[in-house]
């Protein structure tokens, strides 16, 4: 049923939407009562642990588990032999969870045990004998593309890859329009530069954890921290040869995901162990395992060429992106290629993306997958051109900005978007005119993310005391339960405190797509509004019956059913609680629900501005000031919108200054811990200022645009521009760690 969007946006005077009420899960989280993935237990529970390959690339000749099985206290051991055939689209997921003929990266799962305690499980792993034939490995993206590179597969490339390339090149993408050569010929200056970024990890503080129970009756229960418990259910059921309805998955509170928990790693293994042992199996990843064997993002190598006229108009833009996605097809290079030039209205644009495999863990999404790296390269070249022509970087971006109706470099024409609004807000902000001292520099950059909708189900039940139970199916990764409650309360016209929002398990609702793509506030919000309107219709119908008038003669206003006009009759308004109290007598419990494929998600654009200081002796960079300007469409709960802006910006700070995966000559990960994989800490940072811009999305009843991902797209670029200005030399390799900055300064002298 189509929702009447326009009426809401134009005349809506929101009562609760836009406020900052406390979140429903708040008390549990500040008291330690909230239950995360590793916080659940079951009677008779075993502990599961995984044996992982110490080699970056090796054929697995044989696995002997007999000694492990014989160890007292060991109840089950699984290997590749315990998993059957799966459909082609699940093949890679399965192989990543449990190696088949080869170990493809340092940390690749090779076997797993379930035992009565963690220490027995650890001992058992040591007793598993694996016969490896070590093979040559490759971990760098450019090296993997070389003709003589060690090949992971014989035949993984598809029809898009031209003949004659390294076997590790598995996909080629191309986007764009016009003719870039014409554009370059018309430019007053054409700048071309190459860039590299290292692999990073989403860095969620909670390691992967689950509790799996799969009984002899074929019925299973899985407690897991995940961004998408319905997707986990479907994938695990398929991998274990089960029907979907026989597996019930409950999503625990999740301690961070950012895309890294949109897939499975240990869950199918835990279920397989549980089935074999006929006992519940709890499985967690250690921090080292999280780094070695979950899903970091791609390392990249990029070339960007942009032509500009002296008035600041970009005439043509070209980018070639090379991303490695670990040992499997699927780096996010296509999204990088699609988003690279999205903020700019260009007559001639072309992006080419290469997906390359290497002996590294299978990449997983990291908040706007593929976009931050491309933005870094593109915005750096634009910055150089601005300096060359002595033009203001914000003015140049305003001059070239995509607006409503612009042809996006990835294909469609944009609808209503807010990029210009963020640029104007940035230009007029005091940060932009604040003075800078020696060795200090300011950088700006733009970014965007597509956002999308997806399958979403919501159930809204009105209790007999007039309170409302709202069940959504999208795990709460950012505070969305509060926003859902606000939207339900807004529609129903009742206080926010009367609504209790929970995330239901997979048996209680229809399918919900994963909490990703910045889709939750948009999609679950839309479904919540629809479910509320559904319930309102029923409430009005009950009132009409009690008054003996037509349903059409009843309206819902301020949380009450009222006669539509004088002619309908003189009746006192009935509140939601009034009607609920007699629901049993008027037809039974009152509820509303919605099962939708939410469409109409609106893109969110952002501009970031950052000041940094470089110590020319040590190369250390200090972030002095940071302001995020981003379009939220309509901020349902401003504190959570600000939180997304700040969180993404700080992940971007880490990515650009410190974080990187360091592989040794032996192909093993050298820094698999928080000590040497250095994410930002409180003392590294200033306050992160935020400006919420609101250009409503016509596709949502309240104008909502997803915001979670866009915030990580501009930081790499803005910080690189800032540091390059502060250091007096262009940095082209992320992270800009002190040794790299020092070397760049030295080389420039």
């Amino acid at each position: 049923m189509p929702l009447d969007h326009q009426a809401n946006q134009d005349e809506k005077d929101f009562r609760i939407v836009g406020q900052r009420p406390l979140r429903p899960d708040g008390i549990d989280k500040v008291t330690g009562r909230a239950r995360f993935g590793a916080d659940m237990t079951a009677p008779g529970m075993l502990i599961g642990r995984v044996l992982r390959s110490p080699h970056a690339h090796a054929r697995i000749r044989s696995i002997d588990t007999s000694k492990a099985l014989a160890l007292p206290g060991v109840k089950a051991v699984v290997t590749r032999d315990d998993f059957g055939e799966v459909s082609e689209d699940l093949h890679d997921v399965l192989v990543n969870c449990m190696a088949q003929d080869k170990a493809l990266y340092d940390g690749h799962a090779v076997a797993a045990v379930a035992a009565i305690s963690a220490s027995v499980a650890r001992k058992a792993l040591k007793l598993i004998e694996v016969d490896y034939e070590v093979l040559p490995h490759v971990t760098d993206v450019d090296e993997a593309m070389a003709a003589d590179a060690p090949a992971l597969y014989e035949n993984a490339a598809d029809e898009s890859v031209p003949a004659g390339m390294s076997k590790n090149v598995v996909r080629r993408y191309e986007f764009g329009h016009g003719d870039v050569e014409t554009g370059f010929a018309a430019a007053d200056a054409v700048f071309e530069k190459s860039f590299k970024t290292e692999a990073t990890h989403q860095g969620y503080i909670e390691p992967h954890a689950c509790l799996a129970t799969l009984g002899p009756d074929g019925q299973g229960d899985l407690w897991v921290c995940t961004q998408g418990h319905f997707a986990v259910r479907n994938v695990c059921a398929a991998l274990l040869g089960m029907e979907v309805s026989h597996l019930r998955v409950t999503s625990s509170e999740i301690g961070g995901g950012f895309g890294g928990k949109t897939t499975v790693f240990i869950e199918p293994v835990a279920l397989a162990l549980s089935r074999k042992a006929s006992r519940p199996v709890k499985m967690t990843m250690s921090r080292e395992e999280v780094f070695r064997a979950s899903g970091p993002t791609s390392s990249t190598s990029m070339d960007v060429k942009i032509g500009m006229n002296s008035d600041g108009r970009i005439t043509a833009a070209f980018a070639e992106l090379r991303y490695q996605g670990g040992a499997f097809v699927g780096s996010p290079v296509e999204f990088g290629a699609m988003s690279a030039f999205a903020p700019y209205d260009l007559e001639h644009a072309k992006t080419v993306g290469w997906d390359v495999v290497t002996n590294r863990p299978k990449q997983a999404a990291y908040r706007a997958p593929g976009a931050p790296m491309a933005a870094f390269a593109v915005e750096s070249v634009i910055d150089e051109l601005c300096k060359h022509f002595d033009l203001d970087p914000l003015e140049v971006r305003l001059k070239n900005a995509s607006t409503d109706g612009s042809q996006a470099s990835y294909g469609p024409k944009f609808g209503k978007i807010g990029l210009t609004a963020t640029l104007e807000a940035a230009k007029n902000h005091p940060h932009y005119s604040a003075p800078l001292g020696p060795n200090q520099g300011r950088g700006v950059a733009c970014g965007f993310w597509f956002n999308f909708g997806g399958q979403t189900c919501v159930s809204l039940n009105i209790q007999d005391d007039g309170t409302v139970g709202l069940s959504v199916g999208t795990p709460d990764i950012g505070g969305s339960r509060a926003s859902m409650g606000q939207m339900a309360a807004e529609e129903l016209g009742i206080p926010y405190e009367k609504v209790r929002t929970i995330v239901a398990d997979t048996a209680s609702l229809g399918y919900n797509d994963i909490s990703e793509g910045s889709r939750v506030t948009f999609s679950s919000g839309m479904a919540t509004i629809q479910a509320a309107r559904d319930a309102i219709q029923e409430l009005c119908s009950r009132a009409a019956q009690m008054w003996g008038i037509d349903e059409d003669a009843v309206v819902w206003e301020d949380g009450h059913a009222k006669p539509a006009g004088e002619n309908a009759g003189k009746f006192d308004p009935m509140s939601l609680a009034d009607i609920a109290a007699v629901a049993a007598n008027t037809g039974g419990p009152i509820a509303g629900h919605a099962e939708i494929n939410a469409d109409g998600a609106g893109q969110s654009f952002a501009t970031h501005m950052v000041d940094s200081e470089v110590d020319p002796e040590t190369g250390r960079v200090k972030i002095l000031r940071y302001t995020v300007f981003q379009d939220a469409g309509k901020a349902i709960h401003p504190s959570y919108v600000e939180g997304q802006f700040q969180g993404g910006a700080v992940q971007g700070i880490g990515w650009s200054l410190n974080e990187e995966y360091i592989y040794g000559e032996d192909g093993r990960l050298q820094n698999a811990g928080f000590l040497d994989y250095r994410i930002p800490v409180a003392s590294d940072l200033p306050m992160i200022d935020t400006v919420i811009v609101e250009v409503p999305n016509p596709g949502h009843p309240y104008g909502v645009r997803g915001v979670g991902e866009t915030s990580i797209v501009p930081p790499l670029a803005a910080i690189a521009n800032s540091v390059s200005a502060a250091a007096g030399v262009r940095l082209t390799h992320l992270p800009m760690s002190p040794p790299r900055v020092q070397k760049a300064i030295k080389d420039a002298k």
């Binding site: 598809d158 029809e159 898009s160 080629r172 993408y173 191309e174 986007f175 764009g176 329009h177 989403q202 950012f258 895309g259 890294g260 949109t262 296509e334 999204f335 699609m338 072309k350 080419v352 997983a364 999404a365 990291y366 908040r367 706007a368 997958p369 990835y410 294909g411 469609p412 024409k413 944009f414 609808g415 993310w449 597509f450 956002n451 999308f452 909708g453 997806g454 399958q455 990703e516 793509g517 910045s518 889709r519 494929n597 469409d599 109409g600 998600a601 596709g699 991902e709």
Partner: protein
């Protein structure tokens, strides 16, 4: 109805080197079927999954989304996020 579909650069070769293709279709499902029939080399990508942008709105799975000749229809890789 004859509708016009824009396809992205790396698919052009599979569609007879055209960046715009016309097919008879009244919704997304029909469009995808007709595209695969008219240009069999597109089929592998279509089977792997695509998103469709209709006048700027992204659809990932909605088969019966109606299509009209005046719509701007763009084939995109299947979008996902993080």
């Amino acid at each position: 109805m004859l509708i016009t579909v824009k396809i992205w650069g790396s698919l052009k070769a599979a569609a007879g080197d055209q960046s715009e293709v016309q097919v008879e279709a009244k919704n997304i499902r029909q469009m995808l079927d007709r595209l695969g029939e008219a240009h069999p080399r597109l089929k592998p990508q279509l089977d792997r999954g695509v998103s469709v942008s209709v006048d700027g709105q992204i659809y990932r799975d909605a088969w019966f989304t109606p299509l009209k000749p005046e719509n701007e229809i763009v084939l995109l890789p299947r979008l996902s996020g993080g």
